[in-house]
């Protein structure tokens, strides 16, 4: 047993492993950069870095082609930590190297935590508008709203990670969902779809169809998802609403898609319901009101100088709120979120803020400070030793 443990230790503390992992990291970055042409930044992050194994489709078949960023990063982390503990002795002479490696290990931890926990949203807001939620760039949710109450809506949000478990051959019965008096069955979910006219092409005859709502006039056809920079996925979902206890009410299948312009509403049990497939929302206990957008240009040109949004931040216990100016490189940090100035349509009085939730955002700063201090210390110690040796 001791021999096995020793051999594991030898493997993980070896410098050879470090070199191999660094080479693999460089190859990973190179291949991902080449692939970026097809997939865009988000696509390659998901395919090459935020994964254990890189899977590439060759003639439609998924083939593992390389180690993913998580695997290489984790091995590098284990390798560095093991070497750090087993090989490095904490002496004054080596304190700089010790500090630099501690910073590097922290940087790897920070990168891993960001990959695992960072969430990006956007808040599209017009002048005078108040919002207490932001919307995901890539994730969607099926929202079923009871709009009967006068002052608010009762919302049930089903994330696309659950919706995507449905298959045309095996619909997903969500069972009794709290707050909903009817049964919800997801008949099909398409991450990307186009709407065609029903009956326009015999190839689509086997696809699900809607039996209620405006979706009866369209047919959602799945197409390959896209991750390119200037393209968007348009998801669609077929949802069946039924009541097993009420035989007088036959099940109804609804098509929901952001491409359908009108809201999908129906009455059930004396209450008014609305359904929509929308970008996943993240609500906060504070709100932002956009007071003014500013788009400055350099004098005599159309070159942007500055984009800025003046917002009123109202938090619980502070109904009057405080004004905050969000502009380039000066985000608003509040409630564990960072609001960056992202896009702007000044002529329409509209601003788009990127909302980032990253509990480990400080780690890279601390790690870089540690590494800088470590390198400075090591250089200073070496310089002092050199000066002492050359002293006549």
């Amino acid at each position: 047993m001791r021999a096995i443990w020793q051999s594991f230790l030898d493997f993980f503390t070896s410098l050879k492993l470090t070199v191999w992992l660094l080479v693999l990291s460089m190859v990973l970055v190179f291949l991902a950069t080449i692939d970026q042409r097809e997939l865009g930044v988000f696509g390659i992050q998901q395919k090459w870095f935020y994964t254990f194994i890189v899977v590439h489709f060759i003639k439609g078949f998924p083939m593992p082609v390389f180690l993913g960023g998580y695997t290489i990063g984790a091995l590098l982390f284990v390798n560095l930590t093991a070497a750090f503990i087993c090989r490095f002795k904490l002496t004054w002479k080596k304190s700089g190297i010790w500090l630099t490696h501690a910073g590097l290990i922290l940087l790897l931890i920070g990168g891993f935590l960001s990959g695992l926990m960072q969430e990006d949203y956007q808040m599209r807001i017009r002048e005078g508008e108040t919002k207490n939620y932001s919307e995901s760039f890539h994730l969607y949710e099926l929202a079923i709203l009871d709009t009967t109450p006068a002052g608010h809506d009762n919302v049930t949000a089903i994330p696309d990670s659950i919706l995507s478990r449905a298959r045309a051959s095996a619909p997903l019965d969500l069972g009794d969902v709290a707050g909903l008096p009817f049964r919800v069955t997801v008949r099909a979910y398409y991450q990307n779809a186009v709407l065609v006219r029903p009956g326009s092409d015999p190839r689509f005859a086997s696809l699900p169809t809607a039996t209620a709502g405006i979706g009866q006039r369209a047919l959602a056809v799945p197409v390959a998802p896209t991750w390119r920079q200037n393209e968007s996925n348009w998801p669609a979902v077929y949802v069946e609403i039924s009541d097993p206890k009420n035989s007088a009410r036959p099940p109804e299948t609804w098509l929901l898609s952001s491409q359908l312009g009108e809201p999908q509403t129906f009455d059930y049990d004396g209450r008014r319901w609305r359904m929509e497939l929308r970008p996943a929302r993240r609500y906060t206990d504070f709100s932002l009101t956009l007071l003014k957008v500013t788009h400055d240009l350099y004098a005599g040109s159309n070159i942007p100088k500055n984009y800025a949004s003046l917002v009123l931040l109202r938090a619980p216990g502070d109904p009057d709120g405080r004004e905050v100016r969000i502009h380039m490189n000066a985000p608003l940090r509040h409630g564990g979120l960072a609001f960056y100035q992202y896009q702007m349509r000044a002529e329409a009085g509209e601003s788009v803020l990127q909302v980032v939730s990253n509990p480990g955002w400080l780690i890279p700063y601390i790690a870089c400070t540690l590494m800088t201090l470590g390198l400075l210390l090591q250089f200073t110690i070496s310089l002092c030793n050199f000066a002492r040796r050359t002293k006549p």
Binding site: L75, L116, P159, V194, V196, E262
Partner: protein, 205 residues
Amino acid sequence: MFRKPQSYLFQSISSVLCVATLLATLSACRDSRIASYEAPKEPPQQSPSESAAASSAPAPQIHWRAPAHWQAAAPADATAANVRVGSFTIIATDGSGRAADMAVTTFPGDVGGDLANINRWRGQIKLAPITAAELPSAYVTINAPAGEFLLADMTGDDKRTLGAWFRQPAQNRTWFFKLTGDVDLVAAERETFVAFLKTVAFSDS
């Protein structure tokens, strides 16, 4: 002392598996649950007009005479089957393989307006958006038998787009004609494109 190669391989594989299992467990902690909450009522949203399928008014029939060297493309996929009323591929005759794509589409409404449409086309060839003040100089008017077409000519680093649109206010509909592809090829096809627009005619469906 050298270790047996198979022993080293075993260690590598088992070590990678140990680390991967640990990370897989951690990454499985992402939240994916059904949530229920109260939310303040939102003002009614303006419904987007960019939905051909949702349109209640049928589109009029369109007719044209396309030049012989434009190869009419059959809808190869569902996307094409949906929005493209007409689709052509133009290949350079010099054997260089340079190509351009011509698409005819139609949507109810104005699809966000001229500025949004031009900026969408500009974005597709990686050009910066223009402002409302720059809009009047961003297109020219083509008088054709069917009526007035508006034509925007945009040149990016490696692609050029000729985007024309034709409004039918009575039907609350806009027709789009977009030729995009190799810069030189699109430049050479500009006059043919304008001539094509002048052959466009409409009839009731």
